[in-house]
Amino acid sequence: MTDKNINTIDLVNKNLKKRYRAEKRFQAYGILSICFGLMCLVFLFTDIISKGTRGFFYHYLPIEIHLDAEVLGITDTNDVHQILGADYTTLVKKRVYEIFEAKKRKEKKNARTLIAIDATGYRIQDLLKTNAASLLGTTITIDALVDDKVDFYLKRLGEKGEPGKEYFNEAQLLLIGKLLERQEGGFNKSLNKTFFTSGDSAQSEEAGILSAFMGSLYLLLVTFCLSFPIGIATAVYLEEYAPKNKWTDLIEININNLAAVPSIIFGLLGLAIFLSFFGFPRSTPLVGGFVLTLMTLPTIIISSRAAIKAVPPSIREAAYGIGASKMQVTIHHVIPLAMPGMLTGTIIGLAQALGESAPLLMIGMAAFIPDVPTAITDPSTVLPMQIFQWFRNADAGFSEKASAAILVLILFLVMMNALAVWARSRLERRW
Amino acid sequence: MDKLNIDQHISQQYNAVLDDLKTEFLEMGGIVEQQIIDAVKAITKLDTELAEKVLSVESTVDDREMALDDLCVQIIARRQPTASDLRLVMSISKATRDLERMGDEAKKIAQMAILISENGEILDGFGELKNLGRRVQQVVSDTLTAFARYDVNTALQIAEEDKAIDEEYDIAMRVLITYMMENPRNISRAMNITWALRALERIGDHAENIAEHIIYLVKGLDVRHKTISEMEEEVRPEK
């Protein structure tokens, strides 16, 4: 008997090493996969952040400019139409020629293409809009926006191969060089406020993210307000009240299937029902919200049902045992206990909705929308659509802006998740 | 319900412990029975050697009694017996005490045997002693058998038999009293014999007690301090 025991131990020991090795290998596979995933993530993030942060900044050239009422053609400072319709382009052009000492036609052209004349003109217009009477006739210093090609070149100065140099001729490079050498009054790089405060534009230096951001915000608001209550009501009914029969089975199967339907189908549905049949306004967050509600509902319902199922039956029994009615059990115990899980599902659904573009394409939210929406019935676009459109644009300044917009989108998502985590922890602390 | 099924517990160990308890009890019963047989034989045949043997066995019986008590306490503490198991443990615990007393009475008889034999004279009254001794031996033997078989009917018969023994004892006493009145010189010897008779009668009482424990064990009925007819009525209500 003892001999046999010793033999068994030996056999076990012999296999033990092999077993340990297998175990280590198994762990190594896992670590390897995690490393691979992390590397991809790091690569993606460094790329986006390095590109994106550039998009947040812009180069400006401070210029002194005399606001000549005659050149602008403004006679009455109280007349808004005059101020809006004034000829800022000529004013800025003239000043730019002076700065670059351009006299000949060719020189003028060289100088003109270095500065974003129109965008600078809009800045002056913005100033006059609020304060025309006191500013007209004075000389002010204004940060003129450089042309997006110049910005591109300046941002990459010192990089290998001098990217962007090919955009300019000899004379222009000379002019840029001169400005670069200046100690004062040369180019300065600062936060691109336009990017955060204005809507889309055909000119990359004037293009901003605000309209897309607000569009996304309104869209999410509509989606949340619709999908959260509907989703939870559905989940509660199906879990707590619905009799188990063929019909509820059918509904359950359909909800599960809906979660797997390609999102563009929801767009088609939205187009057919909300736009064609009900005649809601096109391109609006309202319709977008309806469509995305349809899309996120299955996710919310499924996760909410799981959360409700996870509520321990002992709690329900306890409540029933002291005579609580079904509604009281549901409202006092089941929903509060399931709320963290429901919120998680909702946040996942909303995050999905935030990143969605295909269904919105179908209801016209891909249109070019320069104006910032102020209500859910204003036409607007959303962040992913904006990113897509900017990337599609060949202009160098736009791809930078697209990367910056991606950062904004990611930040948006992180904030949403943080909100969810905060809400969860608060809800859980109550118990 | 006459079958107790002591050996059908899920716990085999429990079966074994209860079985041990019963076996030990019956073994002790065997020793006491032998003691009584020897004591009766010693006093009727005036065999002092046998009487000494009876006296020497006494300590064994005492040890057995303590061992059995200990076993009962252990079973109660560790197994918390219920129903028939509880009744088995309780009856054995009580019956052990009766057995030990029987042993004590046998010892008294043996002591009387030695005293009488020292006087070296056979007296009248030995006939009664023999007669009673035989009956008591039979009752003790029947009691142990009834316990081994959980036999209620025999237990009832034992209770009846004990009444008969009591009557026989009364008769023997009357005979001895007459004898003493006839011949006052023999009073002290006759007294020794009455002591032995008395001891035999006590053994019969203890046997009846054990019979009552058997009825309690099997039927769960407490029939102490009841007449025979009351006992029969309770044990066999339908008859």
Partner: protein, 273 residues
């Protein structure tokens, strides 16, 4: 001579012992319970006397918990469960279709196997029942109900300084006493206990048993237990269930010294089950 390893339910003819009493708080007659096609309880007739502690014992799956749950219609939550027969609480049919289960459960409270306090404060746990039934008009009344209930449950001294801490932070035994306090806060007439000590250590169990004894002065208690010793310790009468039938009901002393039915005997002495 019976065979002690009966497993055929047809061999159990009728309940032996004393299933019916004179001053019945609840009386059940010919109760059958079905789970779908399967019958779980077969024609059980039993009375529960006023201020009596009745213990229900039996092997697993014998229907004792099912029967207990019929007494305050907790089985209603199981859709396929069907109960027939007469179940009366002080002469009122509790399975009357017109009867609302909410007041019924306020009169017949229940304590469960696992301590299941709500994930709320100790105070709110006890106050929940009175609150939903509207038993206290003012805050002071509620405070009084909470204190009395916790006192009756023997928990007041232990928790009076932390009434607003979560009930789930208490030990297992304290949690179970909290559940008992929660149940008695609505002043029920009958308390059903479904293996209330199976998750507790012996000391906590002893405290609950002591509590059951005290509560029996004011409440009628029906307790299902797996521990025969517990049944022996706390109950006045003991009912033995076997395969959905009520085999024997007797005074607890009688059941544990000399049961009438051989099945009861076999179960309590540990010969099967």
């Amino acid at each position: 001579m019976e065979n002690n390893t009966i497993t055929d339910i047809n061999d159990i003819k009728e309940t032996v012992g004393i299933p019916l009493v004179d001053n019945a708080k609840m009386s059940m007659r010919d109760v059958d319970v079905f789970y779908g096609e399967k019958q779980a309880i077969f024609g059980v007739s039993l009375d529960i006397g006023v201020n009596e502690v009745i213990a229900m014992i039996g092997p697993s799956g014998c229907g004792k918990s099912t029967f207990l749950r019929c007494l305050n219609r907790m089985n209603d939550t199981i859709e396929i469960c069907k109960v027939t027969g007469q179940l009366h609480l002080e002469g009122q049919n509790i399975y009357d279709s017109k009867l609302d289960v909410v007041p019924l459960r306020a009169r017949v409270g229940m304590v469960f196997q696992k301590p299941n306090p709500f994930p709320k404060s100790i105070y709110d746990n006890v106050a929940y029942g009175p609150r939903i039934h509207g038993l206290a008009a003012r805050r002071a009344d509620m405070d009084e109900i909470v204190e009395t209930s916790l006192r009756k449950a023997g928990l007041w001294e232990e928790v009076k300084d932390r009434l607003h801490q979560p009930g789930t932070g208490l030990s297992g035994g304290q949690q179970q006493r909290l559940c008992i306090a929660r149940t008695i806060a609505v002043s029920p007439e009958v308390i059903l206990m479904d293996e209330p000590c199976s998750a507790l250590d012996p000391i906590a169990t002893a405290k609950i048993e002591e509590l059951i004894d005290e509560l029996s002065e004011n409440f009628t208690i029906a307790i299902v237990t797996h521990s025969m010793q517990q049944a022996a310790r706390v109950s006045h009468r003991t009912a033995y269930f076997h395969l959905g039938k009520l085999v024997e009901v007797n005074e607890t002393e009688k059941v544990f010294t000399n049961p009438d039915h051989s099945l009861t005997e076999a179960y309590i002495t540990g010969r099967f089950g």
